[in-house]
């Protein structure tokens, strides 16, 4: 990955072309992460937009102690979690029931053999909180201690969520002929 520092500095001074290069360089990875977290193409695109708008506004606060990619991923995760919290506020109980229905359906439903192994599809079928914990830990490689302050969930709870997610995915893989 080319050095982002000069682009960050130029963009912080208001250079739109510099920020456009940063977008072209990092948006594909951020979008892949958001698609996996949200399991929704349109919502992921909205979150991608919000992520880069927030990043642009926070450029002057970026001190370079983390990679730009890490910084952008962190903003993207926060955008996703803020959206999840809004959903929770809207109707926490209905969401809990919906998550459980999806969870039970995932276990009971198995995989259509015609679809083959589609891990992304299986991840998308996980309940939102479980999916978030799994993607951040297993796909993004973040530790439970790193995820905990982002999600407001205890590391022990995250570990349970990830373990359950693995169980669900293993079952789906095990259903394959």
């Amino acid at each position: 990955m080319a050095d982002d520092a000069p682009l960050i500095a130029a963009a912080a001074r208001g250079d739109e072309r510099a920020f456009a290069v940063l977008y072209e360089r990092h948006a594909p990875r951020v979008f892949a992460l958001l698609r996996r977290l949200t399991a929704d193409e349109e919502l992921a695109a909205e979150h991608l937009q919000t992520t880069f708008v927030q990043a642009w506004r926070a450029l002057h606060r970026f001190r370079g102690d983390a990679r730009v990619e890490t910084w952008l991923h962190r903003i993207a995760v926060n955008v996703h979690l803020a959206h999840l919290r809004t959903q929770l506020r809207r109707s926490v109980y209905e969401l809990a029931v919906a998550e459980l229905d999806a969870f039970v359906g995932t276990i009971a439903g198995g995989v259509d053999p015609a679809l083959g192994i589609d891990l992304d599809r299986a991840i998308a079928a996980l309940p939102p909180a479980m999916r978030t914990a799994f993607v951040l830990h297993e796909v993004q490689g973040m530790s439970y201690d790193e995820i905990a302050p982002l999600t407001g969930t205890a590391p022990a709870t995250l570990r349970v969520q990830v373990s359950r997610a693995r169980d669900v995915l293993r079952r789906r893989l095990g259903d394959r002929p």
Binding site: P28, L88, L100, A129, E138, T153, A154, R166, D167
Partner: protein, 191 residues
């Protein structure tokens, strides 16, 4: 940290995880919306700075700022909802899991500190009544949602998977409540 035996994905799952695509092409149009949002913000900012400067100039010229009357004490808001603005707005019937969460105590303390700040005219001077009402409403709404989750926990006492998800929601809601109150305190001092 000691990991349970199943804490690492098995080989098959791990190899599939490794093979997941790390990039996806964003839909066309996202970049142009990012650009438009940023340009609009810059425009608003320029306008806002100009308007604030003009307002300050007017205040300075008239010497009106120190003489601005405090409306809080006689506002309809303080007359009608002051009874609700006590820590009694928090439910006292919490679950043991909630009682162990330090964020519960922190949220109550934040709310109490916010109430104390409101009695200090130097701090609460610029706060519109709608903002005060919004803070109380936010706490009340979160408490109502917490109560709904507690009720669901009682109904599904025998279902461990469901209980765990509901307990996660309790934690998330409390964290949200604390975050809102902390933000309210920061805003109080910024205005």
């Amino acid at each position: 940290m000691t990991m349970p035996p199943d804490d690492a994905p098995d080989t098959r799952l791990a190899s599939l995880l490794d093979a997941l695509p790390r990039e996806a092409t964003p839909p066309a149009g996202v970049w142009s919306r990012v650009l438009a949002a940023e340009r609009a913000r810059r425009g608003r900012r320029r306008l806002g700075i100009g308007a604030a400067a003009a307002a300050l100039a007017v205040v300075a010229a008239w010497g009106a700022w120190p003489a601005r009357p405090l409306t809080r004490a006689t506002s309809p808001f303080s007359a009608t909802v002051s009874g609700d603005m006590t820590p009694g707005i928090f439910s006292r019937a919490v679950l043991p899991e909630e009682a162990r969460d330090p964020r519960l105590r922190a949220a109550v303390q934040e709310f109490e500190a916010w109430q104390v700040a409101l009695t200090d005219p130097r701090r609460s001077f610029g706060w519109p009544n709608a903002a005060r009402r919004a803070v109380v409403d936010a706490v009340r709404d979160t408490e109502a949602e917490l109560a709904a989750v507690r009720a669901a926990l009682v109904v599904h006492a025998g279902d461990e998977a469901r209980r765990q998800i509901l307990l996660d929601h309790l934690t998330t809601l409390r964290a949200l409540q604390l975050e809102q109150l902390q933000r309210a305190r920061v805003l109080l001092d910024q205005l």
